[in-house]
């Protein structure tokens, strides 16, 4: 799907084009896509929904957005579901693709129902907001013997604090895949070759599903491009602030 289609087409809603940060997980994204397709969740087309989800992720990838692992797990599962639905039906498949599709529909309906239930709860006549208890009760003669008060929340939280306080502090430097600057310069220079056409910076980036590595590659390649431009080996252009960076081999 083209990027323009991605922006103007299936999504429609502005919120859909922003980022993955706005979603409370892949199911939330799926539910919103399904809702945009049909108001009645029982009438949605699962195949169309799968395509919309995968297109959305592609769009996010092309924007170099970080994609959390659970979105990719869902994407893989949906791609699998789609292939099952398109293949000639296998009578021994258990569960059948239709069953899997129905389960997905049911999961969406369940999340939708809970979301609505939450909204209806919040909208009730709530004690302390809409209805009020006595403002200044005199209080009753104590019948219970315990003069001390504490709640399970306070007990558990106190233990959590003790644990957190006394656990040895460990600093773990996670291994992160990075693209070194030297490597980026070498890579961009090699790919640029003698290209005389304006080409977007993104085209020089390696395909990677690792968002950390993708970001590192973007940053290193950008600095590499600046360095190569300084050396006069390429030309750099940008039509407007935040517009795509384009480059071509220097004419010299």
């Amino acid at each position: 799907m083209e990027r323009s289609e991605f922006f103007d087409g299936a999504a429609g809603d502005d919120a859909l084009t922003l980022s993955l940060d706005g979603w409370e997980g892949p199911l939330d994204l799926l539910l919103t896509l399904a809702r945009n397709q049909k108001v009645d969740l029982r009438e949605i087309s699962i195949l169309a929904l799968v395509d919309q989800y995968l297109a959305y992720l592609d769009g996010a990838k092309s924007l170099k957005l970080e994609i959390a692992a659970d979105y990719l797990v869902m994407a893989a599962w949906l791609a699998y579901l789609k292939s099952c639905l398109l293949l000639p039906s296998d009578p021994v498949a258990d569960p059948s693709p239709e069953e899997l599709a129905w389960r997905l529909q049911q999961r969406l309906a369940r999340l939708d129902a809970m979301r609505e239930a939450g909204a209806r709860l919040m909208g009730r006549d709530r004690l302390g907001r809409d209805v009020f208890a006595r403002g200044n009760p005199e209080g009753l003669r104590l019948v219970r013997s315990s003069a001390w008060q504490s709640t399970p929340y306070q007990l558990f939280a106190a233990y959590g604090l003790v644990e957190a306080r006394t656990q040895p502090v460990m600093h773990v430097v996670a291994h992160r895949a990075v693209m070194a600057l030297d490597e980026a310069i070498e890579r961009v220079a090699r790919l640029l070759g003698g290209a005389l056409d304006w080409t977007r910076l993104e085209a020089f980036l390696p395909a990677s599903l690792d968002p950390g590595y993708a970001r590192s590659a973007l940053a290193s390649s950008f600095v590499a491009v600046l360095e190569l431009a300084r050396q006069g080996r390429l030309e750099l252009a940008q039509e407007a602030p935040f517009a795509p960076l384009e480059l071509r081999a220097s004419g010299r």
């Binding site: 409370e24 997980g25 892949p26 199911l27 939330d28 799926l30 959390a68 692992a69 659970d70 797990v73 869902m74 599962w77 899997l100 389960r103 049911q106 999961r107 309906a109 369940r110 999340l111 129902a113 809970m114 979301r115 609505e116 239930a117 939450g118 909204a119 209806r120 709860l121 919040m122 009730r124 006549d125 709530r126 004690l127 302390g128 907001r129 809409d130 209805v131 009020f132 208890a133 006595r134 009760p137 005199e138 209080g139 009753l140 003669r141 019948v143 709640t151 399970p152 929340y153 558990f156 939280a157």
Partner: protein
Amino acid sequence: MTEFERAVEAVLFAAHEPLSPDEIARHVGEGDVGAALATLAERFIGHGIDLVTRGGRWHFQTAPDLAHLLRRTREEPRRLSRAATECLAIIAYHEPVTRAEIEAIRGVQISRGTIDVLMEAGWARTAGRRESPGRPLLYATTPDFLSHFGLGSRRDLPGIDDLKAAGLLDPLDEEALALSLESAGDED
């Protein structure tokens, strides 16, 4: 109005918290607390205050239609995040429920500021463990949850009968749980 009803009324007026009939009996002594509560509740119909029962406990509160006169005198109660709101609904409609089930329904791991906020508000509590592999901890709502949201019991949860009939409150299938577990652990 009998002396016994007067005493029950006074106790409920003076109490800091909703009271069960047993707790009321401890203050007022011998008598049919249930009958007195029913008489009192009827007597206050049409008043500016109602005698209501929530999860088996009784308290007086102002009539809902007068909210507009009273609201500005108080501050807005805590505002829950979207995640916490959904989590509360899931606990209320499915209780008792494990963390894995909550996560499977929402399709995302529970983060800080969700269950802890509900527990701190006094609306959610731990409710023992399920006797299944791993003995996962269970969560449920509290009597204060019913009082706060004006529910006589969990049967009064909005739409719960329809949801049950549609199978939307059935136990989750293995696969849904598995999907949510697969993604667990590789956060951050």
